[in-house]
């Protein structure tokens, strides 16, 4: 058979534009077919057309913080093949707060040693597209404590198909000790936080850290304990409280935008999922209308009754909610009624959907630079996070004299700053902080380079086993029972494990090394 004629670029792009955006890895594979394919797939004009062709960004997965006290960012992929480097979302020095209109709102984990600093560092707005990809570093609001925050495009009448690089707003909400909820708005156009507005909360309410829900010009946040809804109006710049349907929910409620533009609510009670919509009646009074009740057992296709379920997130554009039950974590499509198991049972906090068009960049070096930039932008001086009840030992094996000196200097500056907030002290602290950061990154890079080179050698093999063993020991319970003695010190049981097995098992777990 004669070789077929060379396909013209137009024909190729007509084919490639039909690739499903939910599977970005397909694009990466296709970009290796030939030079001309690579050229098309990295052409900004083509990628813009691609985004418009598919409309809203696809759901690629969910971020979740697996513990309230220690925000360790984790990522659930909903993709068949991931286009992200294996550890792209593991133990990053930030956690996700929101994802909307092609942007992700991140918060740096501020691992300063001083206790009053907390973990709440600066906000970062991230456009995850490696082509247009950009990061905007926001100052902290006057009061850094934040329960929940959202990022929204601020262009009126925008269809949000191509506004990643346009202006945006960040809305932060929190409550104070006297049960007053505050909302504060950052505008990218003014580059500053506006004046906060507030509203009094009931005694048994607090602002939940769930992701906020945008419906029309209002952003709704879930209030916890005694369930309620806190609504911020973007146009009127005020806060109000809405009562949820008159039912008690075991577990969280999730607020979702409905197709008709009304506010929707999903909640679980008595082993069923209830869906509500907030409608205004003929007299102009708003109230809740029940739209659907689905038994969890049916919804999740379980072969046994499901007594409890917890709603922990939603992705409005994909019409899905995220929940977990004793049977595991599920992504439930509200339109099709289909559920997909995505994780085993464990306790989940809240999840933030990750929705973006992730397409091949101009070159791989630009992309890896991009991930580096993201890290250095949000990097705090010590990478491993440990906060809260159980303090873990800090990862310091790679510290050298240079690092210790720089960090000591930084601490000194912080103390001075704490006593006297003068401009010189602020500047001094900033300089010291930068120097410490730099020393840490240099030392760490070098240490890891040396380590990886060493691991490649025969001698390094021993180190791998050693590291695996240490890691395994760290994860074990402290009060492990090895033997029990009776009243006269006679040994009753002896639970000795086969140490050879233990080593092998732990090595398998530590594949990432």
């Amino acid at each position: 058979m004669a070789a077929p004629p060379e396909l013209i670029d137009d024909a190729i792009s007509e084919i490639l534009i039909r690739f499903p955006p939910e599977e970005p890895a397909y694009f990466f594979r296709a970009s290796l077919v030939s030079k001309s394919w690579r050229r098309i797939l990295t052409d900004p004009a083509f990628l813009r057309r691609y985004r418009r062709f598919h409309g809203t960004p696809p759901l690629l997965g969910f971020f979740h913080d697996y513990s309230v006290m220690v925000p360790t960012p984790r990522f659930f992929s909903t993709m068949v093949a991931s286009p992200f480097p294996a550890a792209a979302f593991e133990r990053r020095p930030w956690f996700a707060l929101d994802c909307r209109h092609g942007r992700v709102l991140l918060r740096k984990i501020d691992e300063s040693d001083e206790d009053d600093a907390g973990i709440e560092g600066n906000f970062v707005v991230w456009d995850p597209n490696p082509i247009t990809g950009a990061l905007a570093d926001l100052d902290k609001p006057d009061n850094p404590h934040t329960s929940s925050a959202v990022v929204v495009c601020s262009v009126t009448g925008c269809d949000h198909r191509d506004c990643n690089d346009g202006p945006f707003l960040v809305v932060c909400v929190r409550e104070d000790r006297s049960k007053v909820a505050h909302a504060c708005v950052y505008s990218s156009e003014t580059g500053a936080w506006g004046t906060p507005v507030s509203v009094q909360l009931g005694a048994y309410l607090y602002v939940n850290s769930h992701r906020g829900t945008l419906v029309g010009d209002e952003i709704h946040f879930v209030l916890g304990l005694d369930v309620g809804i806190l609504s911020y109006n973007l146009l009127e710049h005020n806060l109000s409280i809405i009562d949820p349907p008159d039912m008690y929910y075991h577990g969280y409620i999730v607020l979702i935008p409905m197709e008709d533009g009304s506010l929707g609510l999903a909640g679980i009670r008595n082993s069923s999922l209830y869906l509500w919509s907030r409608k205004v009646n003929a007299e102009g009074v708003a109230g809740w209308v029940q739209c659907k009740i689905i038994k969890l057992q049916t919804l999740l296709s379980l072969d046994h009754p499901c007594k409890r379920g917890y709603l922990i997130g939603f992705a409005e554009d994909a019409s899905v909610i995220f929940m977990f039950t004793a049977a595991g974590a599920f992504i439930v499509n509200l339109k099709s009624g289909q559920a997909r198991k995505v994780g085993k049972y464990q306790s989940y906090f809240y999840v933030i959907p990750f929705m973006t068009f992730y397409t091949p960049g101009l070159s791989e070096s630009i992309k890896s630079q991009f991930w580096k930039d993201l890290d250095s932008m949000v990097a705090s001086e010590v990478f491993d996070v440990s906060r809260g009840g159980k303090q873990e030992a800090k990862d310091t094996w790679w510290w050298n004299d240079e690092v210790q000196r720089a960090i000591k200097e930084k601490k000194e500056c912080f103390k001075r700053l704490h006593l006297d907030k003068s401009t010189t002290n602020i500047e001094g602290y900033k300089i010291a902080k930068r120097a410490a950061k730099q020393a840490v990154s240099v030392a760490k890079d070098q240490a890891y380079d040396n380590l990886y080179q060493r691991l490649g050698t025969k001698e390094g093999e021993k180190d791998i086993y050693r590291m695996a063993r240490i890691r395994e020991q760290k994860t074990r319970d402290i009060n492990e029972i090895k033997c029990i003695k009776d009243g006269v010190d006679r040994l009753l049981t002896l639970c000795e494990e086969n140490s050879g097995d233990r080593d092998r098992g732990s090595f398998e777990e530590d594949e990432e090394w």
Partner: protein
């Protein structure tokens, strides 16, 4: 009762045009069907292609052209209705069934169809074939895609470049 006749007036004397493939085969089709092609539409509106003249299509061979025309003839009535807003569900289902079967063909034919649909600017056919090819190749490895589309084997240079990128993108193949 003159209404039915005047309504069907065009049908009785539907205008025909002649298309000539690259290997000099002549095809006679209704102007309405041929007009699905944006390229041909202008010529036909100008009165071309009628009688013994014919429109030469030097880029399309007869096997491909007959396939293209099969699509045009089937889709012409719906297109005449302005994208068939009032078509019944049965009609639409029938067209869908036709489309599915239509692209269920040998790869070499599919390949020339892509080119023909582009040269003749037949929007519906373009997207139908592009979708079929996208479904065929999505998720495949670069080499599989090349083979599926009948590309010649990569030159050593291309292969080296491909390998280098594969290493970088290793995680995309898990």
């Amino acid at each position: 009762m003159a209404a039915p006749e005047s309504g069907d007036g065009n049908n009785g004397a539907a205008r025909m045009v002649t298309l000539i493939s690259s290997d000099n085969t002549r095809f006679e089709v209704e102007a309405a069907a041929a007009s699905l092609s944006q390229t041909l539409q202008l010529t036909i509106l100008d009165g071309g292609g009628g009688g013994g003249d014919g429109i030469p299509l030097p880029n399309v061979d007869s096997a491909t052209l007959s396939k293209v025309l099969e699509y045009c003839i089937k889709h012409a009535p719906a297109a005449a209705n302005g994208g068939a807003p009032n078509a019944t569900a049965v009609d639409r289902a029938e067209l869908e069934r036709f489309d599915n079967e239509f692209v269920n063909i040998d790869q070499s034919v599919l390949y020339s169809l892509i080119m023909a649909a582009h040269n003749l600017e037949i929007e519906g056919l373009q997207s139908l074939v592009a979708k079929k090819v996208a479904d065929m190749i999505k998720g495949k490895s670069p080499m599989e895609i090349r083979r599926t589309l009948g590309f010649p084997d990569p030159t050593p240079e291309e292969q080296a470049e491909m390998n280098a990128h594969m290493l970088e993108y290793g995680w995309a193949y898990e």
